[in-house]
């Protein structure tokens, strides 16, 4: 059942992206309402699918890269729905819709995990680790969306394409939002990594495994640590901060895609 629900969600997110992204460059049309309906359909189908997958696996489907991506995409879809009430919600929804579709599509290609290994449940550190990593990735995904929108608005100002620009959020607001999401993501990822280390050491007779996902996580942490330094400590603003968010999250998606391409069938 869940593959069908995920497919429905995937198509719905693609509709959201197709309906809402043109609105960043042209006047709003009836497509905006289509996007709103599609977003609800996608998020609901996606969350129900995740629920079914969790029931099947006996816990949140976050032990494999595919499951983590599918779950993260569901959170992003839900965040997208919640942000519709914000002044920037409609403008941001097209970008987040496209990102949800990309993450869900990639997650569907990757292994989503099988039944939960008993040692995963043996420690309290596991749910903390999983929740923090997911929160961190959600922060980075939102920062990606906000940064993409920042570049669109800033690009339109630079190109002096001023028609209907007033509907889009200001670049200063987007810059502040990007910073908040990066800091949230970085703090959550740091706690998540620390909790993961404690979880690994708390399982007796099990040597820590350093797989590709661990390397990707460490690189990701380093990248966003640099982003926080540049933006928060150094005070650098504008496109530089936006590019950090974009490259960081795109890098994560590309890395995960590469992992599955190289080691197909790897669990």
């Amino acid at each position: 059942m869940q593959p069908l629900l995920f497919t429905v969600a995937l198509f719905a997110y693609l509709v959201v992206a197709s309906a809402r992204l043109p609105g960043l460059w042209s006047p709003p049309s009836w497509l905006g309402s289509v996007g709103r309906v599609a977003l609800w359909v996608g998020a609901v189908a996606h969350i129900v699918g995740i629920g079914l997958l969790a029931m099947h696996q006996g816990g949140p489907p976050v032990l494999a890269a595919g499951g983590t991506l599918v779950t993260l995409a569901a959170f992003l879809g839900a965040a997208n729905v919640l942000m519709q009430r914000q002044p920037y919600g409609e403008a941001l929804s097209g970008v987040l819709g496209a990102l949800s579709a990309a993450m869900l599509g990639l997650g569907m290609l990757l292994p989503q995990g099988s039944e939960r290994a008993p040692e995963a449940l043996a420690s309290l550190w596991f749910p903390i680790h999983a929740a923090m990593i997911l929160l961190g990735l959600l922060g980075f995904a939102l920062a990606f969306g906000v940064s993409a929108l920042y570049l669109v608005v800033s690009g339109r100002l630079k190109a002096k394409r001023l028609g209907d620009l007033g509907r889009l959020p200001s670049i200063d607001a987007l810059d502040a939002l990007n910073t908040r999401f990066i800091v949230l993501g970085f703090l959550a990822l740091t706690f998540g990594i620390a909790a993961g280390g404690l979880w690994a050491t708390s399982i007796p007779d099990r040597a820590p495994r350093l797989g590709p996902t661990v390397y990707v996580t460490v690189v990701l942490w380093g990248w966003y640590a640099a982003a926080v330094m540049v933006r928060v400590v150094g005070g650098w603003r504008g496109r530089l901060a936006a590019h950090f968010s974009l490259v960081g999250f795109l890098g994560l998606l590309v890395s995960l895609g590469s992992i599955v391409a190289i080691s197909r069938g790897w669990h």
């Binding site: 608005v153 002096k160 001023l162 007033g166 200001s170 670049i171 200063d172 603003r237 504008g238 530089l240």
Partner: protein
């Protein structure tokens, strides 16, 4: 028709009359009160209010249906020392639903010189306030005034008629808001004392900017302008220092070469760590090298950009005006129908009064029998008699409302006669108020 009366509008505006005539008819607030009093004392109108602004003078009145405001026109001419012939070619007259629609259009700023400007609604509110203070409005124009404010707010909420920038000043604010969002707390550097620069700075001041710093070649002029804005005056050679601190720069000088060049701005922007700097160059020839716009963190707009935003805003307001017009027409016919239903109120009141008298008489006649009944049963009889009369009158009241909405004066009269209720006269309305 609203019973024996009708709502009429008589007036002139920038569309129909030159300023020389408008200024002769213009009425200050205290004069408006006096005119409203005279209109009722002279029985020219039963109810009324006057809207007098620099662009229009209009009298909205409830007049006798037979007269249709002829006396009102004569009054308007006579009160201002004009002849009918002088005034009449410039006047417009509306009656019934058209008068209501015109009021809604005026209050919604669809009839304004600059469509969508917000001041007119405040002026309409003032006109209503004066009329209410003078007790010059009653059963018909009272609800019409309240409905007018609701419709004007609806037009502002449901269309973008008041949101588009139509002046260079507001266009500058709109672009700055695209960079910063809220302008509250931002610092503005005004370079030069040009008129356009003043206008933009004034608009930004209206948006709550924290400080306006004025730099000018002649320091005394900078001081004078800074005093006007409650800001700070600085010497032109201190420009670089302030460029690192402010958020917005507006240049409007007579300089013939660039005051701010790319080479000068690049290190400043780096020192700001690319915190956005919004620059408006209103000078011709330009004061800021155009390629400054290509630098990271700099957003430079010139007078042509601002004019383009303002012109597009005007165009959009015109587009929005057609949507607003549809709202106004729909609301006007609805409002006029509901005012019409009110014209049946005296007939309905008389019918109800007569029915209640009859009910009381019959109960009094059976007083001896009723007194013998237990209290609970007496209450039942009382309630039953009320319910019977209510049910009996229900259809007649609904019919009266419909006749009022349709403006069927004869029908209302007949209904009133059937129930022994006299139809209202102008004097009744005066008493009711």
């Amino acid at each position: 028709m609203l019973g024996p009366h009708e709502v009429v509008t008589i007036g002139l505006s920038h569309h129909t009359a030159p300023v020389s005539l408008r200024e002769r008819l213009a009425m200050p607030s205290d004069a408006v009160g006096r005119h409203l009093l005279r209109l009722r004392e002279d029985k020219v109108a039963q109810e009324g209010f006057i809207l007098s602004t620099c662009n229009r003078v209009e009298i909205y009145a409830l007049v006798d249906g037979a007269d249709m405001g002829q006396r009102l026109t004569r009054y308007l001419a006579g009160a201002h020392g004009l002849t009918w012939r002088e005034l009449d070619p410039h006047l417009y007259r509306y009656q019934g639903a058209d008068a209501v629609a015109h009021l809604f259009r005026v209050a919604s700023s669809l009839d304004s010189l600059v469509v969508g400007e917000p001041q007119i609604l405040g002026q309409v509110k003032d006109a209503f306030r004066i009329a209410a203070e003078q007790r010059a409005v009653g059963r018909f124009l009272g609800p019409l005034m309240r409905r007018t404010l609701t419709v004007a707010k609806r037009v502002r909420t449901e269309t973008r008629i008041g949101r588009e920038s139509v002046s260079v000043g507001s266009a500058g604010v709109e672009l700055a808001q695209q960079v910063f969002g809220d302008l509250a707390g931002r610092r503005v550097l005004l370079v030069g004392a040009g008129e356009m620069g003043r206008l933009v700075a004034q608009s930004m001041l209206g948006q709550g900017v924290a400080e306006i710093i004025v730099a000018n070649r002649t320091y005394q002029n900078a001081v004078a302008l800074a005093e006007l804005f409650g800001g700070t005056a600085v010497h032109l050679d201190q420009l670089t220092r302030y460029l690192e601190q402010v958020d917005i720069v507006v240049t409007s000088t007579g300089a013939t070469s660039y005051l701010l060049t790319r080479a000068m701005m690049a290190p400043i922007l780096r020192a700001r760590r690319y915190r956005p700097l919004f620059l408006v160059d209103l000078s011709v020839p330009r004061n800021i090298e155009p390629s400054v716009h290509d630098l990271e963190g700099a957003y430079l707009f010139n007078v042509d950009d601002l004019t383009e935003v303002a012109q597009r805003g005007l165009l959009r307001r015109r587009e929005e005006a057609s949507r607003a017009e549809a709202i106004v027409q729909h609301e006007a016919s609805r409002c006029y129908r509901s005012l019409g239903a009110r014209s049946a109120d005296p007939v309905i009141a008389a019918m109800t009064r007569r029915a209640e008298d009859a009910r009381r008489r019959e109960l009094d006649r059976s007083e001896a029998i009723l007194r013998a009944l237990p209290a609970k049963e007496r209450q039942v009889v009382e309630a039953m008699s009320k319910a019977m009369f209510k049910r009996f009158l229900h259809d007649a009241i609904a019919q009266a409302h419909q006749l009022g909405e349709r403006g069927d004066e004869d029908g209302l009269k007949l209904l009133g006669e059937i129930f022994g209720a006299t139809h209202p006269t102008s004097e009744d309305d005066d008493d009711a108020r």
